[in-house]
Symmetry: C2
Subunit: 376 residues, 2 copies
């Protein structure tokens, strides 16, 4: 990458491909989700995995820098290093995590882990927490997503809650659910059905735990599709933990979570060549600038080229994208070599992870640079 | 990522997912390709885009640190910063590249660019090179790959060679071809056909250029499949420029470029949970640890789990992979939570790009850390 800050530069001066973040849009997306949660009387625990930046998490938390969920320990450490607190490592705990979990428990006011196994529970029970602390633990419950979590109907899940709750060195905080099955839907009505079913199931689990004397102070569910289509049943919860809504993407627009205009990030790319023999042009965004995710879901190929509904991103190699018209002949005069195009990604979490810097823009001017953490 | 060097540690101490590079295998792969080129009397210009590391490029060049081709300007600058020279920026030149191309031309003994358009040619012709230098230029020729390059049969291509050759501020070096169409094959015989057809076509182009008094001192073709199955016709060339062979991958093994045992990199991942209700387990390698490339090409899903032919990596979210047996019930005792599995990637170039450090191993011991460059 060319060195030096890009702040103050125009987009057409940037090295491409470049990830652009529209500051007004990301602010609006963050403000809207905070307002949604406030209106329902639930907390927002901001999932940071989409952007992995300090600035993004500040917007998500309304500036208080408290209340995050991360998908890696590396993210948790990054935010701890930058003054954030009340952080949940939202990933199934395994024994290998314990040294870093111990260090985070020691240094933060509130650091929480998530468990869904007997092994993780026993590991915590037998490991002394740092002096003056307990392990702060959420039980992951699977309410139909079929990924991590104890199955909501199984007695073994409630028994694990009981065991955690009864352990002297553990503070059992409550239950957490990811309703990622909302992504496997065809329309907003189905998203709402999954949202309501998830809430019903987790509340039944909480009720069964209560019958055994186990209190769940925190009951959280997350996923951007469900949290972007909130419903009254969610008022039974205490917190939501979506993440993708910061940027949104074409996938979210297709699910009804947002409009195409709400998408706050895009990839700027340049035309690098005209190939009239095969009615194509090439751009300098290949799979390292976008990822190959999403192909097959869009008539326009690997992404949506903003403002160009007749263009299809039909193939990608490492650094090169192939663009062709959906219909007719490509009008090369409209797309000179060296000129810019802007690709809206299918999956912003995947695309953003390909960049070591995000160029945050107001109009065509770069006003900030955000540098995400990466790795594990 | 946990801080501190991993050199001297055992693989089972590493944070997962982790990219492991088998030092003996990467050395053998590099040695073999150098030997192939030597045997045919052609040079090897090492494509570095797969690994993007200093150490990998040293092995590729047999320690001389001369003769690279890069896929980005960022890579060219990285290698220039680390004492490499004779570097080709192997990407279609556009006017936006000129400031950085000028700086590289100034600082390196030999820096080459690749053009395939009238615009790039005119840009070079009208731009004064640094004092005492000329622009060193290769013409990209398309011999059937249908990506960048002038089409080998077109008169416009030969005319461009003539124009470059006649320009006082340009040193026309020759022609370059990428036969990436070798990837769209079903067996080694088809790879060999593409290899030979590519050589025939580029030599015809060179012959037509010669008729116009244009000499191509360099005639290069590349792609790991064709260079891994070298044939006598290649002796007509002056250089080869493959890259993926450093690591190889499942795709290359499926094309006949290598055996599965030659694959020099894999992703180490841990089992994080058992879900007998659905005959699955989860691992801590999601798409950020592997990418989603390759799905549909392997019976085993998104990758090949080394030594476990009955395991399928059937789905991936950002940080989690879903593993299930191809047949029968999963034997959970064989895969305890916290234990390691090793995934051979479909496409090593894509997978390696997800990592900021490679753990280079001899057996189970980390002996080196390689840190790739990234970005553009």
């Amino acid at each position: 990458m060319a060195s030096g800050s890009s702040v103050g530069r125009q987009v057409n001066e940037l090295t491409t491909p470049a990830l652009l973040v529209d500051l007004a849009k990301v602010k609006a997306n963050c403000r809207n989700m905070l307002a949604t949660c406030r209106a329902m009387g639930v907390s927002l625990r901001a999932q940071v995995k989409t952007h992995k930046t300090i600035e993004g998490a500040e917007l998500q938390t309304g500036g208080v820098k408290r209340g995050l969920v991360t998908s890696t320990l590396g993210e948790a450490e990054f935010y701890a290093n930058h003054g954030f607190d009340d952080i949940l490592f939202g990933f199934p705990l395994i024994p290998h995590h314990m040294p870093r979990v111990t260090a985070l428990t020691r240094r933060l006011e509130k650091f929480h882990v998530m468990v869904d196994s007997q092994l993780a529970t026993e590991t915590l029970r037998k490991t002394p927490p740092p002096s003056g602390k307990t392990w702060s633990v959420l039980l992951k419950v699977d309410c139909g997503n079929n990924r991590a979590g104890v199955w909501w109907e199984d007695e073994a899940g409630v028994e694990l809650a009981e065991l955690l709750s009864a352990s002297a060195n553990i503070t059992f905080v409550g239950v957490y659910v990811h309703c990622g099955n909302s992504y496997n839907t065809k329309d907003p009505r189905q998203v709402e059905q999954i949202r309501d079913l998830t809430v019903e199931r987790v509340m039944k689990f909480v009720g069964r735990a209560k019958e055994r004397g186990v209190t769940c102070d925190t009951v959280g569910i997350g996923s951007t599709p469900t949290c972007s289509l909130p419903g009254d049943k969610m008022k039974n919860l205490t917190e939501l933990h979506p993440g993708n809504y910061t940027f949104y993407d074409v996938q979210q627009a297709s699910l009804g979570s947002c409009t195409m205009e709400d998408i706050a990030c895009c990839v700027a790319t340049r035309v690098i060549g005209h190939y009239p023999r095969r009615n194509q042009m090439l751009i300098d965004c290949g799979f390292l600038g976008l990822t190959k995710q999403g192909y097959g879901n869009m008539a326009t190929g690997y992404g949506v080229i903003r403002g160009q509904p007749n263009l299809k991103l039909s193939a990608m190699t490492q650094e090169i994208g192939f663009v062709e018209p959906l219909k007719g002949d490509l009008d090369y005069e409209q797309f000179p070599i060296n000129s810019l195009l802007y690709i809206l990604p299918w999956h912003a979490c995947a695309t953003a992870a390909m960049y070591s810097v995000y160029h945050v823009v107001e109009g065509d001017t770069v006003v900030q640079e955000w540098r995400p953490t990466r790795g594990w």
